[in-house]
């Protein structure tokens, strides 16, 4: 007995009894697991700090009038951090100072798409379009309520609320239908919950510019583009569209895109002269 006790190592003895053997989880592994979140946190913190530094540098360059440097800094921040309405807005301000109205229009549209409640971006875009001689887009009532909804409430929160209500209604309906007893009012309430939830969900979905403006593009060619009757250089010109104007791309064919203006005119234009608001990978 003594011999066998002597043969046991420290971790395996507790109050004189051998512990059950652990499979694949040694103490160093546990220690490593505990360290991993710390390392991850440190990495994230350092990245965020360096990101913050880069943005401070960009802002300083902007204030100092070094717009090319500010633009590079905002663009690299977008590449590193990913899309952000604030970053696109600051980039647009820099592009305006650089006299790049079409690029600024694109950045502002991206900022609005990411955060429809950015009224400053809407104001700036409105200013910019008027300065470029771009007519205000006709606002059908559907577009109008979509915009109002997007501006007033968080579409993500609305989507979640709508989903929750709909699911509560759906599960309640299921329970009510299969239980015994009176059913009229419980079923009615469940159906109302279901319908209201679905309506809120659909409204939030349709109001989301990432859905409704999915095909939007902006004319980047400095002199604007011509919408042609056919995808050929010699085709008849349907309409001239100024730089910075909004178009909706219906389909692509080689180097040509079939686009529609907000006022309904359709035609072909070179894909190179426009850029989609939703960045392509």
């Amino acid at each position: 007995m003594m011999n066998s006790a002597k043969m046991m190592t420290f971790p395996e003895i507790q109050n004189g009894l051998p512990l059950p053997a652990k499979k694949g989880m040694s103490f160093p592994a546990v220690r490593s697991l505990m360290l991993m979140p710390l390392v991850a946190f440190a990495l994230i913190a350092s990245t965020w700090l360096s990101f913050g530094d880069a943005l401070s540098d960009a802002d300083a360059a902007f204030v100092a009038g070094d717009y090319p440097a500010a633009m590079r800094a905002y663009e690299s921040a977008l590449s590193a951090q990913g899309p952000s309405a604030g970053l696109y807005y600051n980039l647009a301000m820099t592009q305006l100072r650089q006299n790049q109205p079409a690029e600024a229009a694109l950045s502002l549209r991206r900022a609005i798409m990411l955060d429809p409640r950015r009224s400053d971006a809407r104001v700036a875009l409105s200013d910019l379009e008027r300065s470029q001689g771009i007519a205000p887009e006709p606002s059908a009532w559907t577009a109008r309520w979509r915009q109002i909804l997007a501006e007033k409430v968080s579409l993500t929160a609305l989507t979640i609320i709508g989903s929750v209500l709909a699911w509560v209604g759906a599960f309640w309906l299921l329970w009510v239908v299969f239980r015994k007893g009176r059913k009229f009012w419980p079923v009615t309430i469940a159906l109302v919950l279901l319908c209201v939830g679905k309506a809120i969900f659909i409204a939030a979905y349709l109001a989301d510019p990432r859905v409704s403006e999915r095909d939007a593009a902006v004319v980047l060619a400095g002199s604007g583009v011509s919408l042609l009757a056919a995808p050929a250089d010699q085709s008849a010109v349907v309409l001239k569209v100024p730089a910075g104007a909004n178009l909706y791309v219906h389909r692509r064919s080689g180097d040509w895109s079939y686009c529609e203006t907000p006022t309904g005119e359709k035609g072909w234009t070179s894909t190179k002269s426009i850029e989609c608001v939703v960045p392509t990978a």
């Binding site: 943005l55 802002d59 902007f62 204030v63 009038g65 921040a77 951090q81 990913g82 899309p83 952000s84 309405a85 604030g86 970053l87 807005y89 600051n90 301000m93 305006l96 100072r97 006299n99 109205p101 600024a104 991206r110 798409m113 990411l114 955060d115 009224s119 400053d120 809407r122 104001v123 700036a124 875009l125 409105s126 200013d127 910019l128 008027r130 300065s131 470029q132 205000p136 915009q147 109002i148 501006e151 579409l155 993500t156 989507t159 989903s163 699911w167 759906a170 599960f171 299921l174 239908v177 299969f178 969900f201 979905y205 989301d208 990432r210 859905v211 939703v278 960045p279």
Partner: protein, 614 residues
């Protein structure tokens, strides 16, 4: 042949005149000028279309004005359209108004009976300033349409109004003559002055060009409209009159010599019979033709510079008499949405040269140079009367409840002073942007194009830092409904719901009568299966058999067996089985034996019983 043509033409005109009575009649009254000085005569024309021979009063009584009938002219126009001959008779009745005192006078509407119809003219307003009138330029004051002296009723003490008076026997230079009518003697630089150029033709002939030659140094001339053609009787001779309307605008101060207007024409000077041209037509005489330049007289105007005293800073060159009004649409605007502020300047004056109204009280608004559209009055061929609409796009930078105010300054030549008009602010509900950006370069260029017109359009300088934002929350271009977590959660809920639905449906199905019967049958068959086992002792075998019968009949009662839809043999066999079961259960005889053949027989009987019950 000529006679035949003449009679045929007369017949056509007669038919046309007869149909003319079916056409709509119109009556219109117009003043040659709305604003005059005391003693300065002004002409009132009452035009009647679709009727003639109308009885009008010789005098119109308005206190402060002396209004007398001065003459009339009639004209029948025959046109051929779509193979149909149409004739329209029109008449112009001319009154001469002599203002006796200063003030604003309303000439009342007149009821006129034309072709059995009672028609009414509109009220007219004449403003008489204290400035003495009298002779205008070096042209004698005369009505727009000269009238024969024989028809004039000259009041004692009134200014002499002379018509172009020509002798009955026309000399060569009196075959045709012109008249340049300029309503004012003293004008201002930049002021638009309406002018009538009239050409009188006492003999048949035709003009050699459509528009007169009329130009000179120190003034510009607007384009001529289509001439109005009339017949005018002067001293017993009928003249054909072409009246051209235009406007001149002096460009420098001082004495302005206005040269004669000239219209080349080909006139018939002999009296042989020949059909030709516009004045001869069907009934024209024939003769030799001579090309002559028909000229008006020259004129002189005194041109004054606009006074510097009292000139408002927002004055942008408008000279005349104007009114202003404004409207806004929409009344509610979200952040970033523009409101269209429509400002209309109406009246008479130099619409071509005037600048737009200035927007004031525009703090918190961003304004842009307006778009503009001029609409002349329908009866004005020279664009002197009308209205100019300015559309301002305004954008709230802060929450605003009222639009900016539009201010418009002009110089009124009749009052000889500057006037500033203001619109009232219009109530709106406009939401402003949180942090409007500084004006982009392109906007700054656009705004600087009209700095004096919209000084408030220049945004206030904002610190560069303030246009940047510091909120960099990560976002995605993927809609939230396409987020994997959202899709997974909703998918799991959907699967759960479907499973619960299936469970509920299963429960409903299992609770039904047929389900219960099926369960009973299944249970009974299990008993039968147990009975077939060789290891099953006889007591248990018969107990199972009794249970099987009870399960299938859903009763332990013998009455149920009797009532069951079975054959008598089956009933007897089952009754025997139940008797055996009772015997084994209640007997104390000891152990029973059950041969295999008996087991098989009993099982067969029970199967038969089961089959018959289905």
């Amino acid at each position: 042949m000529n006679s035949l043509i003449k009679y045929a033409g007369a017949a056509m005109v007669f038919v046309a005149c007869a149909t003319a009575s079916l056409r709509a009649q119109q009556v219109q009254a117009a003043l040659a000028q709305d604003t005059v000085g005391v003693g300065q005569p002004v002409q009132l024309n009452i035009s009647i279309t679709g009727g003639s021979g109308v009885q009008l009063p010789e005098r119109i009584n308005v206190e402060g004005l002396d209004i007398r009938r001065a003459g009339q002219s009639e004209q029948t126009q025959v046109t051929m359209a779509n193979g149909q001959l149409n004739a329209v008779t029109s008449a112009v009745y001319t009154y001469l108004i002599i203002p006796i005192k200063a003030g604003t006078f309303t000439i009342p509407a007149m009821s006129i009976r034309v072709g059995g119809k009672e028609l009414k003219t509109q009220d007219l307003t004449l403003t008489v300033s204290g400035t003495p009138g009298g002779r205008l330029g070096n042209v004698p004051v005369r009505p727009a349409i000269p009238v024969p002296q024989s028809q004039q009723r000259q009041a004692p003490g009134q200014p002499q109004v002379t018509a172009p008076s020509r002798p009955q026997t026309l000399t060569e230079d009196q075959l045709a003559f012109g008249d340049l009518v300029i309503p004012r003697k003293t004008v201002y630089v930049g002021e638009v002055v309406p002018v009538e150029v009239r050409f009188f033709f006492g003999v048949p002939g035709k003009t050699l060009q459509e528009k007169p030659n009329f130009s000179g140094d120190g003034f510009t001339v607007s384009s001529f409209g289509e001439p109005v053609r009339r017949e005018q009787e002067i001293n017993g001779r009928v003249y054909q009159v072409l009246v051209y309307q235009t406007a001149i605008t002096p460009v420098k101060a001082g004495t302005l010599e206005i040269p004669p207007a000239e219209l080349p024409a080909r006139l018939q000077v002999a009296t042989s019979r020949r059909a030709d041209d516009m004045f001869g037509g069907l009934f024209g005489s024939m003769g030799d033709f001579r090309d002559v330049p028909v000229k008006t007289e020259a004129a002189t105007l005194e041109v004054k510079a606009l006074p510097k005293e009292g000139r408002p800073p927002e004055f942008a060159g408008a000279i005349g008499q104007f009114s202003i009004e404004a409207s806004a649409s929409p009344k509610k605007a979200a952040a970033g949405d523009t409101i269209s502020l429509n400002v209309t300047v109406a009246g008479r004056g130099n619409f071509d040269a005037m600048g737009p109204p200035v927007l004031t009280e525009s703090e918190g608004w961003r304004t842009y140079p307006p778009g503009e559209k001029f609409t002349p009055s329908p009866s004005d061929p020279i664009g002197f009367n009308g209205e100019k609409a300015y559309e301002y796009m305004i954008l709230a930078r802060e929450d605003r409840t009222a639009t900016p105010v539009a201010e418009f300054s002009y110089f009124d030549p009749s009052l000889e002073k500057y006037v500033t008009l203001k619109t009232a602010p219009i109530a709106v509900d406009a939401k402003g942007g949180a942090a409007p950006p500084a004006t982009p370069p392109a906007i700054a260029v656009a705004a600087s194009a009209t700095p004096s017109a919209t000084p408030s359009a220049e945004p206030t300088a904002e610190p560069e830092q303030s246009v940047l934002v510091r909120n960099f929350s990560p976002a995605t271009f993927r809609p939230f409904v396409e987020d994997p977590i959202f899709l997974m959660v909703n998918g799991a809920l959907a699967v759960s719901w479907v499973l619960l639905l299936l469970f509920g449906v299963g429960r409903v199905i299992s609770g039904s009568k047929s389900a219960r019967e099926a369960a009973t049958r299944k249970e009974a068959r299990k008993l039968l299966h147990k009975m077939q086992s060789a290891a099953c002792p006889p007591e248990e075998f018969y107990q199972l058999a009794a249970d099987f019968v009870a399960a299938r009949l859903a009763s332990h009662s013998r009455d149920a067996l009797e009532a069951a839809p079975l054959g008598s043999e089956t009933k007897a066999a089952v009754a025997a089985i139940l008797d055996t079961h009772d015997e084994m259960k209640y007997s104390t005889a000891g152990t029973f034996q059950l041969p295999v053949e008996d087991r098989r027989r009993v099982v067969a009987q029970l199967k038969s019983f089961d089959d018959e019950l289905r």
